[in-house]
Symmetry: D2
Subunit: 351 residues, 4 copies
């Protein structure tokens, strides 16, 4: 921690700061600059030491030297983490974060048995490896479709089993974590809940992997701190998902921040995937942004696919229809190879 | 709803859109422009009608004519709502949203009995009317102080009673709503939970008023939709609180969006208060922004005050000490009068 | 300057950095932390020293200790600057930045003699002190009204003289600085040109005061650096103007960042005024935000007023009509008094 | 244009709006909804018709139906435009916007003859096709290196000629357009000048192509309107360049908005390239984002390369050294092929 003193800090104020640092257990090193005094504080980070120092009247600012995240940092664990979804290798699970690029796909919401089974089959046929489908939907308006809840989870699990695909679904309430974990192979924390700390702690205490979406206005550091919440509770199986941030640009629904992919890969050992559907809000931009995501270094994709988008109960405009999903995979294959990764298509897997 | 067709829309595509509108129960009116066809759809808004139309290939865009919020809109209820905190008039409650400007103040977190009681006394003495204090704290890092939970609520309630001040505290988990409602007079939904829909629904089913903070990256429309969630469940006692939005400017912690105050007052009948402490992140800017908030038309303030900010377990840098809080109230009084409002200082109220 | 070394920096890499610092003329102080090495560099700031250090492979980051602005900083000049518009005190000029709150008002664009003279008279009558009117208009579209150029300046100067009001107008091209300086008392640099460095340098070499608007996406630091450009060329008569920044919120045209007012007053000795018209984009929000601006500590206002907004060639929706401008001044008077400032109404001044 | 009337609009107010529309030369069509009246206005867009209508008291809002840009729109010209840099095909010019991906590279600033010649040779050798180098530098601080001006242009032109590479350099002042056009093959308008309309008009009247960077806080629509300024003056040779927008995220210098690439390609016929160096601010992220840019559909790249970044007078931290530029091209080749484009390496071209 570096403490920059004000220009007019008096000697007694300086001594107060040094005393405070000693009380906190820090050693201090004084650097007398041309204009200012700067103090280097050395020692283990203390509970809100930065905040306490910032309240002292002669302190101009306090600059932290270290990242606030630990367990998720690459400094803590230099090699890439691989998160297995739907069981380990022997169990036919899907590895996220290794050589392979994993495409997760499916409708925004599970609507009925026919819809989700049809989606599962077409996704399987085109090369998707994990089936997505929402049962608990966070919707901006209380008057729109809110999802089928547990019934939706049942239908999703059933469709996944039939097609031989592990399934992922969102959980929005700590009370529902157990039921979502019962039916799914991967629990999604949505963008709006990235700092729902009660929910993060709760999924940190289960044994299933978690897909943590970046919040609409969350910095990369806050995103990694949210992952740290989950890992600190004991669940290290976290996959990060970039899905667009909120900016002034309104032509696309959000602004997909692909530079977050290499940055997160640099700072953390966790796998990162990208959701081009929610990021852009329109099917037309999904294919180019999916390719760009893989080129930027992402470990996989989360894509909205609906058997008949025009009939979707939510997010129809951003959903790919079967033909467009096929085309996405087809154009993805050469890009995956170009960046030296692999795309195992699910239809070649034992169901 | 206005449907703008693409330049090259064919007649049969136009007929498909009209047919779709009829299926949805809309009447349609065709406007043939110089370049484009535009369709006006008349009728009651249907579940995701906009989304379905946007998936049709010949549709360029769909422009909604009406606001998505209803119960919280001023069109629904033209007169200002007054929310009573701590009981009705006869019970000595505090009205928020009427002639009176209400100052809510207290520490970020309840730390111990002495701290919160000392805070309560000084706030009462200076003119605060409602005591705030966090017991369940949403913190970016899992390694910082997370609050005293129910013990904190007990201490807060006790301090409020002794000082004769109603109390407000944050709830972050649907499971905790009942216990927070038991000890407090006003339940706060924090910025990070503004779209925690499970939590919104839950506080919509209690009989205590709710303080709904605007999310860091939430539009005014989303904020009002979040209030709509609470009101739609049956609890119309909602106070809105502007607390800064996230922008590119990093000198202040957030950017206080004071123009949201007159905008929300125009769109909605709900009271609006302002939190200059979280918005700016530094005590130095709290006083000028508090005055500006009242000048912009806010119904009250939520201010962080700590008996000894340098010892605060959280948010010390943005907390006012007793002398600065006194000075805030002192400079506030003439501004309140200048805008034709009243400031009833709590020390003149029966405890 | 503080240099944070990477975790795995070797001794020879450390020595290279120290050598580089010595070459740049810095003294260096080593702080050996628990995990990392940190180097404090002491000496006069060198040309892009920070950038050079950041390219060194073992350097994690470089933290500057000092603000990059000098001449405009309050550390350089502790007392408030007062900028006189239209001559000094003896010449009947208007002081901006002293006790007095100054209202500058007028139409977005000078349209014809009748319009600007009518505007000047009504502004004078209501209490405005400086007349604004655009002659060179920066417009998003090449197909909209671009202003009357020099003819507009002549009409503006004539109207100002008749009414006894100094005038302000925007300059958007370095080539036009002389002609704008010839006709006006204050030259405005608009938001889109805040980092038009050729233009900044050019107005830095004239003897008339400059009104520098904050850029749509400019940080406070960049804004002060733009002022530094002007002052560094020799013209210290700079008035800053906050006019809203670009954020995700689209209900208002921009987001008025009133917290910038006390922040800039803290960092700099220059006067700061606020433009609530461009910030909000709608006349309805101008009055509350004008009051809030003064309560936040601003030294004045820049307000769009048009004799007949419905006939305005630009920015009609955000212009006040005469009655609304009257009402603005009327409600402003008590707020100005409440914050201990003065409002000298121009009609009481000798023309 | 669609005019949405207020809920309480009276019949006489409605008639006023219709009368106004007739005066503007519009035909009007009334749509009587369940709650509101909506008017469809048909006819050629009039000067600020939208603004005039919005000032009318009974008008809630006005929704434009058409894009404001014309000449640069794909509706105006459906096929892709190809901009030739350094002469036409016969003259050995470089086509931007066709099948070929074009890499423009070079140092941020021309520093001296040796540096720019060395840069030119290495860029040529690695496969760059156009040489960049700044001579007029827009710098945030007046105290940092501002470029060598005309001397820099001479050195750049000389280096380009020796290496057989066309050159691009920035112009920041209308007065300098002629001299920059004299020495360069492509004139760059930087992000800070995207709405410097005097400059846009000036480069619209020359016969050399223009590289128009997107402003830090400019919407896609404003960017296309800036291009429209140039094209409307007669110069249709415009290449667009996405270089990152300003958001709340500070880990990267800006947020590269790659979704702008397919969006602009959809809305406009102009070529689009991407600058990953300025977007990210650090060499480490340049390679992944360059690959992602091409995968998203960009027609080329603008990359900062310096023979010795640690000695660069500006932007060293984001510059690639020769080995890293080599590696960039090497990893780019398979991605270019994967998306069905070509990469003609300059060393295989006749100089």
């Amino acid at each position: 921690m570096i403490i920059v003193m004000k220009l007019d800090a008096s000697d007694s104020q300086l001594m107060e700061v040094c005393q405070q640092l000693e009380n906190m257990g820090y050693q201090h090193h004084l650097i007398r600059g041309v204009e200012r005094l700067v103090i280097g504080a050395v020692g283990e980070a203390k509970l809100n030491g930065k905040e306490i120092l910032e309240t002292m009247p002669a302190v101009e600012k306090v600059l932290p030297v270290r990242h606030p995240f630990k367990l998720v940092s690459r400094e803590f664990k230099p090699e890439d983490s691989v998160v297995w979804v739907g069981g380990n290798k022997e169990m036919g699970g899907i590895p996220v974060g290794g050589e392979e690029i994993v495409v997760m796909a499916g409708p925004c919401a599970v609507e009925n048995r026919e819809q989700i089974q049809s989606a599962a089959q077409l996704i399987k046929a085109s090369g998707g490896r994990i089936l997505r489908g929402g049962a608990f939907k966070p919707r901006t308006s209380p008057y729109t479709f809110q999802g089928l809840a547990e019934k939706g989870l049942q239908l999703l699990a059933e469709a996944g089993q039939k097609a031989g695909l592990p399934v992922v679904s969102e959980v929005i309430n700590p009370e529902d974590v157990d039921v979502v974990a019962q039916y799914t192979d991967l629990l999604q924390i949505g963008a709006r809940n990235m700092q729902n700390f009660a929910l993060l702690r709760r999924v940190g205490r289960i044994s299933k992997p978690v897909l943590l979406k970046r919040g609409l206005a969350s910095t990369i550091e806050e995103w990694l701190m949210a992952a740290e919440y989950i890992v600190a509770e004991g669940n290290s199986q976290v996959i990060l998902c970039e899905r667009g941030i909120r900016t002034f640009e309104t032509y696309t629904r959000n602004t997909l921040d692909l530079s977050a992919v290499p940055v997160v890969k640099h700072l953390s050992h966790l796998p990162v995937i990208v959701d081009p559907s929610h990021a852009t809000g329109k099917w037309r931009w999904v294919q180019p942004m999916a390719l760009a995501a893989i080129a930027s270094g992402a470990d996989g994709l989360l894509v909205e696919v609906h058997p008949d988008p025009a009939k979707a109960l939510s997010d129809g405009p951003q959903s790919l229809n079967p033909a467009k999903f096929d085309r996405l995979i087809e154009t993805l294959i050469p890009v995956v190879k170009a960046v030296g990764r692999e795309l195992n298509l699910s239809q070649q897997q034992p169901a």
